[in-house]
Amino acid sequence: MNAETANACRMVNVYLYTRYERFWHWLQSGLVVILLVTGFETHGRLELLGFKRAYEIHNYTGLFWLIAFAFFVFWVFTTGEWRQYVPTTRKLVAVVRYYLFGIFRGEPHPVPKRKEAKHNPLQRLVYLGLAAVLLPIQMASGFLYWSYNSWPAWGLGWLSLPVVAAVHLAGAFAILSFLVVHLYMITTGHSLTAHTRAMICGWEEIEEREAVEDWEVKTRRTPA
């Protein structure tokens, strides 16, 4: 099948991302960039704002993120959006295959986006890892790092600052490397900017295809 002609004639506009999702995405991306820049400056690898300012901005931004993240967690669970993150192996290999080979041959994406299934199996894994593991680790280690002077009072005197700092640094590298890949992956829509546009206004043009398969749907399946 010719991808170009497919794009030209069989696209539909789908409202993919709600207002809060988009707000959260851009807020979080801003926070991540600020935290990366100020974090690496605090780590002595950059000179931009000066240590003091970088350190202060890093701390306030981190604390702000921690609070904002609590709202995100609330949203994820109250809206049932958490189901978008339930990991699956179905078609996982197909998606990996697509990005390794199919994409160069102009094949269609094996698991196109749908309102009810925004994440393909690979994304599910990555975003679950991010939202449930990497970011919480980063926030916890950052919070501990920040509260270093209170450790003895909190009964955490046994903690080691070099270890907490190392965990936090490892997390920073993981996030930075996610950011690199993520920034690239948003160009892999049907056009270079399709994904970005969707994240700004909520609507994305996607290929019209048969209905979403049952296993992909995020809502609870009611027994017939």
Partner: protein
Amino acid sequence: MPVPARMLWLPAAALFGLAGIVAASASDPGPGAAPTAPGRDMAQQATRGPQRWITSDHSKHEILKQPFASGPEVTRACLSCHTEAASQIHRTIHWTWVDPASPPEKPMGKGALTVNNYCVSIHSNEPRCTSCHIGYGWKDKTFDFSDPAKVDCLVCHERTGTYKKFPAGAGNPAAKPTVFPGDGKTYEPPDWNRVAQSVGRPTRDNCGACHFYGGGGDAVKHGDLDSSMHKPNRSLDVHMGVDGKNFDCTRCHTTRAHQVAGRIYATPAATERTPLTRDDLTPRITCESCHTATPHRPGVKANDHTDKVACQSCHIPEFARVLPTKMRWDWSTAGRMKEGKPYKEKGPLGFPVYDTQKGDFIWEKNVRPAYFWYNGTIDAISLKDPIDPTRRVAINWPVGSPADVNSRIAPFKVHEGKQPYDTVHKTLLVPHLFGPPGSEAYWQKYDWRAALESGMKQAGLPFSGEFDFVETTYVFPTTHMVAPKERSVACNECHTRENGRMAGIAGVYLPGRDGNRVIEVLGWATVLGSLAGVLVHGIGRAVSRRRKEG
């Protein structure tokens, strides 16, 4: 498709959120609007209070109007009212030059066998060194330390500024106008009645008469104490500045029964960090006495530093900020003559860099201190302790460790020396430097062996006759010349990878200086790997697309 207008608030909200964060981080309110730091408020309250006054005018005392011919006569007059003063003085280090708290088996002080890398030791050199003793006549070992009349009340208490001890008079002022060859100045005998009637609490000039000129000259020794501290401005010393708080030394060096608060060799100035709010009679010798342990505004990170970092480390950015101080003294080059005569050579800072009597000097101004873990104790070797001449010998050193809760990272002046040692006994040696013509003194005969022989003999110590010169260090804690807060050390002078002030400090994780090497390498490898991966992938996509189009 067009972006619906109602969606525009989203990016706007995000922007507002970020602006809020940045604003919050810049919470430093400008001057004027700023609430002052609690530690400043506390200190200002602690130093406000009533002016001190006295109930006696010493110029009206008949006993001080009698004719005096010598210091001891004045002292007897003082003691006729201040009956306990001499016995109090006799127990202080100002009198004994030995730390009263040091153990008898290891007495510390110039009066014992403690040495430095300036003129090394007072033994055999008393008449010169003891011109800074608060007594009259300590010219050799025979001095009677129990004689009340030998106490020099005037040097600490007279307030005319005219009382001068003769620099080589064993603590006595000149009996008749006398020229001191060392500085070429004429020393006049005191106007005894005038100085005796002027007495009061010690001023900066009284303490400074000795402590600003330690090591035989202005600014030689401490680096944070020199003649610029007679009348410092606020930017040199925020507490003592005549345009600021105008403190005398005794404002912090509070005194009980003539015992002046302060560190004495291995005895810390304070063992407890007691603020005045907990004990209003506590000595004011520590910063925390007045400023408390969390002196900065709430939320200021510096408050979190006070468990590891001494106040002085940030608040004294450099020492010797007005006058240069001596940083190195190399005795091994002494004795060179110019046309058969001793000579001096001045350096770019206006201070001698060579002196036939003393060797080579290095002077430095605006010196960044060295930093060490320090619990208030400075230990030292004595003339009896064996040294390892193959390495630089630390004559004294700050005691402390990162594991000790009473230790802080504190600033120091480190003075380097190169001085004589016994190559057989492996001990430091006492040179007999000062003496009358015809004596064995080095400054008379310029004969090291004779001078060392004589010095060690008078110190009561063995000398093999074989000597050489060894590199040494001597540390002084840097605690005066506290700069105004706007001149304190910036965060990035320590939190940096290159040449930071804390480069030599172990036992603490310092963000911006330290990092985990393994994670660092793996981390950058992952990031660069990701970058390479997406680049290759992107190129692949572009190529395949072109091929299809072509």
